[in-house]
């Protein structure tokens, strides 16, 4: 009989495969029906799932609540828009996002990780506000209008090339990138480094006694999360053709936190499922009332009180039980 850790890992793999299969099926059906709207919506859900993933790395592993993760997502989107306007290359935009995530994550991290707990939440919030207001007021970045007219690009995938205007094609590209980000995150967090982050969350005073520097660990996790957020952000202008300062605002950061809470904190997979769930809820509720914020707020409060482990807290144990039953002959 397999041990609990193996079962948990298998349950995770199963959930990833389920998302991937659902995504492929969705793309196939969407392409067959010549749909644009739902495929674009699903693409957006995945992109914001990437932002939620970065919030979960900080909140679920290192135990740091970031209220300003939209800063990195938005900067990634702006940078990508600028790059695409100059050179229409998917890979260059992605690389620029990666580089910017490293550099800006380091700068923001050095500022933010000096403080812990609730002060960290507030400092990330303040940082994002400062940058958002600066972008909002900078005319060369389009000020309150944002950057419009990001060109449609052809994504060179070696064997084939996909246009960002093709709903199903671009959906698959985004699915691949986001699942890739998830895989990299899950792998890194499964190394001894990831265990140390969990140790930081559990008790950050004991970690130095084990011979580790808490500051550099915390900084690495901050930079790591920043990179995930900027790379997710670079995909946004390819989908929408524009970027606006709202991407940097608190509502974007807040939404990512809601997503993580609904999906399940500290599960990584929950961030992606949470984003899909939230998008579905929004469009379903949106068809019969424009006051979806109230229902989402109530759901969110309910999740905080009654379901601290979110959707994954419900689903994963069920999957694990299923696996255990199968393992028993």
């Amino acid at each position: 009989m397999p041990d609990a850790l193996t079962v948990a890992a298998r349950a995770n793999h199963l959930l990833v495969v389920a998302l991937l299969v659902a995504g492929l099926a969705f793309a196939a059906i969407g392409a067959a029906l010549n749909d644009t709207f739902y495929l674009r919506l699903a693409t957006e859900a995945l992109i914001f799932g990437g932002l939620a993933l970065s919030v979960d790395i900080l909140l679920g592993y290192t135990g740091l609540l970031s209220l300003g993760q939209a800063l990195y997502f938005g900067l990634g989107a702006y940078l990508s828009a600028l790059v695409l306007m100059a050179v229409p290359s998917f890979w260059l935009a992605l690389a620029a996002g990666l580089g910017a995530g490293l550099v800006l994550g380091l700068i923001g991290g050095i500022i933010a990780i000096r403080v812990r707990g609730v002060y960290f939440a507030l400092i990330t919030f303040g940082l994002a506000q400062v940058v958002a207001k600066v972008v909002y007021n900078t005319r060369s970045l389009g000020a309150s209008d944002g950057l419009l007219g990001v060109p449609i690009i052809n994504i060179d995938l070696g064997l084939a090339s996909v246009s960002s205007a093709s709903p199903a094609g671009f959906f698959l590209v985004v699915l691949a990138v986001i699942i890739g980000l998830y895989a990299v995150s899950a792998y890194i967090l499964d190394t001894p480094f990831g265990r140390l982050l969990i140790a930081l969350r559990a008790n950050d005073r004991r970690v130095p006694f084990l011979g580790y520097r808490t500051a550099s660990l915390r900084l690495s996790s901050f930079v790591f999360a920043a990179v995930i957020a900027t790379v997710s952000g670079t995909l946004y202008p390819m989908l929408r053709g524009f970027v606006s300062p709202e991407l940097l605002f608190f509502s974007t950061s807040g939404n990512a936190v809601i997503t993580v809470l609904l999906g399940g904190v500290g599960t990584l997979m929950g961030a992606l499922y949470g984003s899909v769930l939230l998008t579905v809820l929004r469009s379903v509720i949106g068809t019969w009332t424009e006051h979806h914020l109230m229902i989402i707020g109530l759901l969110f409060m309910g999740a905080v009180i009654f379901l601290p482990n979110g959707l994954m807290g419900l689903v994963r144990p069920a999957v694990e039980r299923l696996l255990m039953r199968k393992a028993r002959p």
Binding site: G63, L65, V118, Q129, N137, G297, V304, I305
Partner: protein
């Protein structure tokens, strides 16, 4: 020389008075926030929505023909049971979890979303502007001063002074400070801690509502009014020291004056980044703020 005097009389002084009126209202909101943090260790993200709650209640009751003077007393009183219920029914449910900071912050964030949408449902997205209860203006030392702003400054300052007096000079205040310093010890000495917590939360909410009533005629009433305002209040609380009443007053006056005077020299849209920049620098250098926490100082 005459030019300098003219500048002070016609440009600088009115701006200082406008900043002062805003500052007093910000301090009222920030004191509620800081008491709730100092005592309960809870960052109330829905505080701005309770400020809007006060403004909307005043608006609705004003339509029923209740005079402004009565509203100024009635709305804060009516918000006491609301705050009490929120603390007992919502906050206490997650209060004893190990990550209290994060869960209570998230819970009140959700509450803020719900309230904001409720205002939109009830009143629509457009701003209302109630009539100024005291029209006209006086000229003091050649400085043009709108009556209502003067009234706001005086009443606000009196309320702030009364709060400080209650917290630092009465038996009730001593119980509050004792509960903030050491909850268990205070409880074992007979302080009804659960009641003090809920009461302090209700009182903080009610102060925010009071500020909402006062500011409604100046800044108009709309569903997201709390959002912009609360950012300033948060900055004030952080710079002054989370949980410090004196800090909230000093930082509130300082930051609103920075904002008011800076907007004379640079475009007003750039004052926000300056104020938030001060907040970030403060959090980096001295996260505990300028002054000590409630119960400690």
């Amino acid at each position: 020389m005459a030019e300098v005097l003219d500048y002070i009389q016609f440009v600088l002084a009115p701006q200082v008075v406008t900043g002062l009126a805003f500052g007093v209202a910000v301090i009222l909101v920030a004191i509620g926030l800081t008491i709730i943090f100092g005592l309960l260790d809870v960052i109330n993200m829905s505080h701005g929505e309770f400020y809007a709650f006060g403004a909307f209640s005043a608006l609705a009751l004003g339509w029923l023909g209740i005079p402004f003077w009565l509203l100024l007393v009635l709305v804060p009183l009516a918000m006491l049971p609301v705050g009490y219920a929120v603390e007992r029914i919502l906050i206490q449910r997650v209060f004893n979890r190990p990550d209290r900071h994060v869960t209570t912050l998230l819970l009140t964030f959700g509450l803020g979303l719900v309230l904001e949408d409720a205002f939109r449902l009830g009143f629509g997205p457009n701003p209302y502007r109630p009539e100024t209860p005291i029209p006209g203006a006086v000229v003091l030392f050649g400085i043009f001063l709108p009556n209502y702003r003067l009234f706001l400054i005086v009443v606000g300052a009196l309320v702030i002074a009364a709060v400080a007096l209650v917290v630092y000079r009465t038996r009730l205040g001593a119980m509050v400070r004792a509960a903030a310093f050491d909850r268990n010890m205070a409880a074992s000495l007979g302080v009804p801690v659960a009641w003090v917590y809920a009461g302090a939360f209700a009182f903080g909410i009610s102060l925010a509502g009071f500020a909402g009533v006062l500011l409604a005629p100046i800044y108009s009433v709309f569903p997201t009014m709390g959002r912009d305002f609360i950012l300033m209040a948060f900055t004030v609380v952080i710079v002054g020291g989370m949980g410090s009443i004196a800090g909230a007053v000093v930082a509130g006056l300082f930051l609103t004056q920075v904002q008011a005077i800076a907007s004379l020299y640079i475009s007003p849209v750039w004052t926000d980044p300056i104020v938030f920049g001060i907040m970030v620098v403060m959090l980096m250098v001295r996260p505990q703020g300028l002054f000590g926490r409630l119960g400690y100082a």
